[in-house]
């Protein structure tokens, strides 16, 4: 078995508990979410619920409000629910800063003192982040399917597979984008610093995105936020996946990965 594969396998093994726990929790919460959506549907409470939403949330949702405030919208809302996104972002940041942790603990010394190229620390982490994101989305999909199978009222149509896949891909791309940011920072600084900085940037970017939807004056700088290129509500309303947004998110991710490669190849490996 080759060294890089062993490194990947070890890293996956070390995060497996985190991945499984997070995945199971997210899948369970999503099944519960379907249960709530079914209950709201049975009671015909979507319109009342929409009326209860604060004007700021209505502003953020815009014309997609009616689509989001439906059985389909609640079920698919898992792909842009703030709580889910925060959990997935935290997981992505944790996985993407593994090289920083390895350098900090000195484990990287043991790896790189052997015939292993430095870039494998980053290449392995990219693979690990992609696998983690894929696994989380599959678990959420599984939770959705289980929830629908158990709780969906017979008179509602299940969300179309194409729409679900598009939303999952969209969210995956957003997470990969933040993985790139975290990895670039993690290649340069300590894990705690990289994690905290990425989280702060992500939080600021999310606030900026929300704010610009309410105050158009912020449009001039809103494009700086990766969340600007993530508009899942429109997908729920029936629009197709915006390829341009995907390309921009992918480009941010690639830039982050490239910076991480360049830093790791140049820097001194020290604690």
């Amino acid at each position: 078995m080759s060294g890089p594969f062993l490194l990947f396998r070890l890293s996956l093994k070390r995060v497996r508990t985190l991945l499984c726990t997070t995945g199971l929790v997210l899948a369970g919460v999503q099944a519960l979410r379907v249960r709530i959506a079914a209950s709201l549907h049975s009671d015909g409470q979507f319109e009342q619920l929409a009326a209860l939403l604060p004007s700021s949330v209505r502003g953020i949702l815009g014309p997609s409000l009616s689509s989001v405030m439906s059985f389909n919208g609640i079920v698919c809302g898992v792909y842009f629910d703030t709580g889910f996104m925060i959990a997935l972002l935290a997981l992505t940041i944790a996985v993407s800063t593994v090289p920083a942790s390895e350098m900090e603990t000195g484990f990287a010394d043991l790896i790189l003192a052997r015939p292993m190229r430095r870039h494998w620390l980053i290449t392995r982490t990219i693979a690990l982040a992609l696998v983690s994101i894929l696994l989380m989305l599959l678990m959420i999909m599984a939770g959705t399917w289980a929830g629908l199978a158990m709780f969906a009222p017979p008179d509602v149509a299940w969300p179309p597979a194409r729409q679900t896949a598009s939303l999952a891909l969209y969210l995956a791309m957003l997470l990969v984008c933040w993985s790139g940011v975290a990895m670039a920072l993690g290649a340069a600084c300590r894990r705690g610093v990289a994690g905290a900085t990425t989280s702060l940037i992500a939080f600021a970017a999310l606030l900026l995105d929300w704010a610009h939807r309410l105050w158009p004056a912020l449009d001039r700088i809103a494009w700086l936020s990766p969340f600007y290129y993530f508009s899942p509500y429109e997908l729920v309303a029936g629009k197709s996946l915006p390829l341009e947004d995907l390309v921009i998110l992918w480009a941010i991710a690639m830039s982050g990965f490239t910076v991480a490669y360049l830093i790791i190849l140049q820097r001194d490996i020290s604690r």
Partner: protein, 333 residues
């Protein structure tokens, strides 16, 4: 004790420079099979205004056990990390068995077993998982019998290997570190403070291991603060001071730089106040006892004692520790 009467230690002799441009190694193309285990030429590392290592030149032959000494921050670990390409030099070159440590780093590191000073291990892994993972990163498969032999010698039984590292004591982690460095039977072992945390019995086992690998033809490059250990196991030593090599010598030669302690006991009171030749320092004078420190041959002292009522005389062998401590004190002052 005054040090100024010690023989002036000879400064580190610069090694013969090898003319070569960046990325080139004439030995690599001509005679890699007989290249030194480690060859360092003009190696320097600076961190901004701080010089961690200054123009180091050093050749370490195959089959040598080489001790790398110096106070904390002298540049020992920096040199080791440069050889492993963990940090990049400001200038200079280094070769492992003729392979450039940076341009041919994979080939160089394929021949190294490394024990870091501070082992960075994942505490959620078991000892066996750690050993197997690290063995898998080597080019050559690890002989499990060899690993078992190492575990037996260092008394790390299978029961302990199946435990998670968070349950390990510092000494057990050190043993694991030694096993991971030795298990691939590399031709070059780079060991940073190898016996730190080992109990005296395990230290003995480790010394036995070192002499076995030396018999097998391996080269050992080790840094250590334990001078009696270096004196016991090393063939040659280099001493670093503030990033600069100030002594490069065999252990035997180094000892000659230190004075021997001589105790002369007289059968009668002696009131003579002789003038001692250079290299002789009288450190204690009583009516029937003299204590001296003698650097160099002892013949002149014997001539001087002729005619005095000498009852007994003890000559204590010079210790490496005396030489090294002198350098350390000079650094401190």
């Amino acid at each position: 004790m005054q040090n100024h009467q010690l023989a002036a230690p000879s400064p580190a002799e610069p090694q013969e420079p090898i003319p070569c441009g960046p990325g080139q190694n004439p030995r690599a193309t001509t005679d890699r099979a007989s290249a030194p285990a480690i060859s360092i030429r003009g190696l320097a590392k600076r961190y901004g205004p701080i010089t961690a290592l200054k123009e180091l030149n050093l050749d370490i032959g195959r089959g040598e056990i080489f001790g790398f000494l110096g106070l904390n921050g002298a540049g020992k670990t920096t040199t080791i990390r440069l050889l492993l390409d963990l940090i990049r030099p400001t200038s200079g070159q280094a070769f492992i068995f003729g392979y450039n440590c940076w341009t041919e780093g994979l080939d160089a590191r394929a021949r190294i077993g490394y024990l870091p000073g501070e082992l960075g291990l994942y505490l959620d892994l078991t000892g066996l998982e750690t050993l197997e993972f690290l063995a898998g990163l080597n080019r050559q498969p690890v002989d499990k019998r060899r690993r078992q032999e190492l575990c037996d010698r260092l008394e790390l039984p299978g029961r302990d290997l199946r435990r998670r590292l968070r349950e390990y004591s510092a000494g057990m982690k050190r043993k694991l570190g030694i096993i991971q460095a030795f298990q691939g039977e590399p031709p070059l072992l780079i060991l940073d403070e190898p016996t730190e945390g080992l109990d005296p019995l395990m230290q003995e086992s480790f010394y036995g291991l070192l002499s076995d690998v030396k018999r097998g033809g391996a080269t050992v490059f080790m840094s250590s603060h334990v001078l009696c250990e270096v004196e016991r196991v090393c063939d040659r030593i280099a001493l670093l001071r503030k990033g600069e090599m100030v002594l490069l010598s065999s252990v035997r030669e180094s000892r000659r730089l230190a004075p021997r302690r001589v105790r002369v006991l007289f059968s009668k009171n002696v009131s003579a106040n002789p003038e001692f030749p250079p290299g002789h320092e009288l450190t204690e004078k009583a009516s029937r006892l003299w204590r001296l420190e003698v650097t160099g041959p002892i013949g002149p002292l014997l001539a001087l004692l002729e005619g005095l009522p000498v009852e007994d005389m003890e000559v204590e062998e010079a210790r490496l520790e005396d030489v090294v401590l002198r350098y350390y004190r000079e650094e401190g002052s």
